[in-house]
């Protein structure tokens, strides 16, 4: 009975597909799963927009939208109708083909990332051997879409926003990949299902999630910082800073294309949170072994929504980082910490089981964090600012 709810979607898929002739069954199964993903994640996106607005409002001591449905929950429908009925303005001097393709490329690239996330036991769309590599490759393609959007608008501010966005995304890809590589090193496989299976063990009722190890905790922090920067969320949202660049690279987009960019950004947030959950938080495994009766997909989506809540919380708390500040942060703090984390994870593996490796690894990481943090915070010399002008 418990296993039934856990596998309910898999069983549903098999049942629907059994009505078709045998030759079409596997393709139909995949198609069904694709349709489910395409329907589920935009629905989650709609819910997240209203939760974000209400969450940020409550943080700022005010009510969020509360007119459109009970507690404002039907607000996304109003927003959807608005964005669909707005006039689609394309600037006359804009490059029409690239201007049209940019949101399409973005949304396609982001949707493809969901294909390798294991959302429950046996619930991964494509069980690839190199799943993690696939995810990072697709994420890199999304940056090209950002650049296409900024360039095709023929607007200086859009282009500036796009350049900043691409520079930021490239800088933070390195820590993102390095944190992922640490997990791959310990697990011994690039396949996301194997990574979740490696974390699905319990000792004394506590799970073996990677976040509960010193290198995993540091890795998760670096991954979270890099993920926030990759999806252009506060405090790294200079490219779309509403007070500086109007809307950055999607200034010249109106109506549904803007909604597609918005969708792409939130879906990128979901998929990167999903990947973080898979790599560090144990994917679909339950926090305690006695909670295994709760279906695995409920755990995955709870952890996903928890990550989204933390994203919203960060957005309501932190001011925006300036471009040079965030680049400095990436290359001078996050990257060295990630490299050190790689060494510490290797040391963890080679020291074998026992309390010694916990003490040594934690000590090294904490010492490095404090030292690097102190040197970062005390290096700012207050003096006359020197300007560099673009040639």
């Amino acid at each position: 009975m418990i296993g039934f709810f856990d596998q309910i979607f898999v069983l549903l898929q098999h049942w629907i597909v059994s009505f078709l002739p045998a030759a079409w069954q596997s393709a139909a199964g995949v198609l069904l799963a694709v349709v489910a993903i395409i329907c589920l994640f935009p629905a989650l996106f709609a819910l997240t927009t209203v939760f974000e607005r209400k969450g940020i409002a409550r943080i700022q001591n005010r009510l969020g939208p509360n007119r459109v449905g009970p507690y404002g929950l039907l607000q996304p429908i109003a927003d959807g109708i608005k964005s669909l009925t707005k006039e689609d303005i394309v600037p006359m001097s804009a490059d029409a083909a690239v201007h049209f393709l940019a949101p399409v490329v973005m949304v396609v690239a982001v949707f493809m990332g969901f294909a390798v996330l294991p959302m429950g036991r046996n619930m991964v769309l494509v069980d690839m051997d190199a799943g993690l590599l696939f995810y990072f490759a697709i994420g890199a393609s999304a940056e090209l879409a950002v650049f296409m959007a900024g360039w095709s608008s023929r607007n200086k501010y859009s282009l500036l926003g796009a350049m900043r966005a691409v520079a930021q995304m490239i800088s933070y890809e390195v820590p993102l990949l390095l944190s992922g590589v640490t997990v791959v090193m310990i697990t011994g496989s690039l396949s996301l299902t194997k990574i979740v299976a490696a974390q699905n063990h319990y000792s004394y009722g506590l799970p073996h999630w990677y976040i509960f190890t010193p290198w995993g905790c540091a890795g998760f922090l670096m991954y979270a910082i890099a993920a926030t920067a990759e999806s252009n969320r506060s405090p790294f949202d200079l490219p779309e800073g509403e007070s500086e660049l109007v809307a950055g690279y999607h200034t010249e987009y109106s109506g549904f294309k803007f909604a597609l960019f918005f969708l792409g950004e939130y879906l990128a947030m979901f998929s990167i949170s999903g990947l973080g959950t898979t790599l560090f938080l144990g994917g679909w495994s339950a926090p305690f072994s006695f909670l295994n009766w709760v279906p695995s997909w409920i755990w995955f989506f709870s952890k996903l929504m928890l990550s989204i809540f933390v994203f919203i919380w960060l957005r309501g708390t932190l001011p925006r980082l300036r471009q040079d500040q965030l680049m400095n942060f990436a290359w001078k703090f996050v990257l060295p910490m990630c490299l050190l984390n790689l060494f510490v994870a290797a040391a963890w593996r080679f020291m074998g089981d026992g309390w010694l490796r916990w003490v040594v690894c934690s000590a090294v990481l904490i010492a490095a964090y404090v030292t690097l943090g102190w040197s970062e915070m005390h290096r700012g010399k207050i003096g006359p600012r020197s300007y560099r002008y673009a040639e």
């Binding site: 490059d95 690239v98 690839m128 051997d129 190199a130 590599l133 696939f134 990072f136 490759a137 697709i138 994420g139 890199a140 393609s141 940056e143 090209l144 650049f147 296409m148 360039w151 282009l159 350049m163 691409v166 490239i170 890809e173 496989s189 690039l190 020197s386 560099r388």
Partner: protein, 166 residues
């Protein structure tokens, strides 16, 4: 020679032609990204998944963006006044034909050298990893040194500019 192969090669060749013939340089760069994607899918159709996705990650995710940045930071985004075709096209054609002949001779020679395999060799990521740090560790380290030298060179050039300005 299945239908997938024909479709992918058509896309790749079309992309390459577009990259050569389009007037707008940024359009050419984007067409080049299509070529990279086509190559990646060709790798994947040959069951080399790692090579395919690494191609996407490196070429589309980094090289294409590098090309685009280079076009934008120089004045390449403006359409050249005197057409896209250079006047020395004949010499270019001869050189391209020469390079194609050398590459073709190398590929044909290697096909004769390798035995005819009936089954596709199953290469896993583990095998690739073992090969990289086992048999091919020297090329790996040389490539790493080369990349480090390139990065240090870029930083030196940038710092030199800043001091030159001051």
């Amino acid at each position: 020679m299945s239908i997938v192969f024909y479709v992918l090669t058509t896309i790749t060749v079309m992309g390459a032609l577009a990259a050569m013939l389009l007037k707008n340089t940024v359009h050419c760069a984007l067409a080049l990204s299509v070529v990279f994607a086509g190559l990646a899918f060709l790798f994947m159709s040959l069951d080399a998944q790692y090579a395919g996705w690494a191609q996407v990650l490196v070429y589309i995710g980094a090289v294409a963006i590098l090309v685009v940045f280079a076009i934008l930071l120089t004045k390449g985004s403006e359409t050249p006044k005197d057409g896209v075709f250079s006047r020395t096209w004949f010499v270019g054609l001869v050189i391209a034909a020469g390079v194609f002949a050398v590459l073709g001779w190398a590929v044909m020679g290697s096909m004769k050298a390798l035995p005819q395999l009936t089954a596709v060799p199953q290469v896993t990521n583990l095998d690739i990893g073992n090969a990289l740090v086992g048999r091919y560790v020297l090329p790996l380290e040389i490539v790493a040194v080369l990349l480090t030298a390139a990065m240090i060179g870029a930083v030196i050039v940038a710092i030199h500019e800043k001091e030159g300005q001051k």
